[in-house]
């Protein structure tokens, strides 16, 4: 794969992650942070995919599968917490 393309993609993803992390830090509400976290987990899927392609190691895609399949549970957990009347931070 073209080195430039990969560098570009990596950079874009890194920048995207940074921005999502900023939203996570800023909040202001907990759901805002969780949304940012959800986005980051999607990005992780993407990053792992790109890295798999970059290194040519197919097995890395399995990691992405796990992220895609399980990471949303954190959001479900947070949602449940919020609905149960957790403090509205």
């Amino acid at each position: 794969m073209n080195g430039f393309v990969l560098t570009l993609v990596y950079s874009m993803l890194a920048l995207a992650m940074l921005m999502a992390a900023i939203r996570l830090g800023k909040g202001p509400s907990l759901p805002d942070r969780v949304v940012a976290l959800e986005l980051i987990s999607s990005m992780v899927v993407g990053i792992i995919g790109v890295h798999a392609l970059d290194t040519g190691v197919l097995s890395f895609l399995d990691v992405a599968i796990v992220v895609a399949l399980v990471a949303f549970l954190a959001a479900i957990g947070f949602a449940r917490f919020i609905e149960r009347g957790g403090p509205r931070e």
């Binding site: 949304v35 993407g46 995919g49 790109v50």
Partner: protein, 126 residues
Amino acid sequence: MIDLIIGAFLISGAAFMLLAALGILRLPDLPTRMHSSTKAGALGAMLIMGGVVLGFAQWLALARGVAIVLFIMMTTPIAAHAIGRAGYLIGVPLWDGTIKDELRENYDSRTHSLRSDAADDDEPRV
């Protein structure tokens, strides 16, 4: 040629990721941020996966790519729904520019019951 297509997939995927990030950074309230993040994020991941599958050009990669896309399509809206609902119901403030809200009046935060349409009800409004 194939590299070009792969590159396009990857870059467009990354671009959607970036857009999603920009969106949740810029957009003014929770629901609108979710519009940006869940969809663009999911689409970005799918596009990248498309590129990856093409890049590997193996059946195994395709199988995994399909699984990933499938899982993302299944889990992302569920999470979005859960968070959006929870955020909305506990009253995370909406953007000033929100023009309509047909849910609020039908929701009783004490019993957590949600009616189909308050206007149909005989009960007097409080």
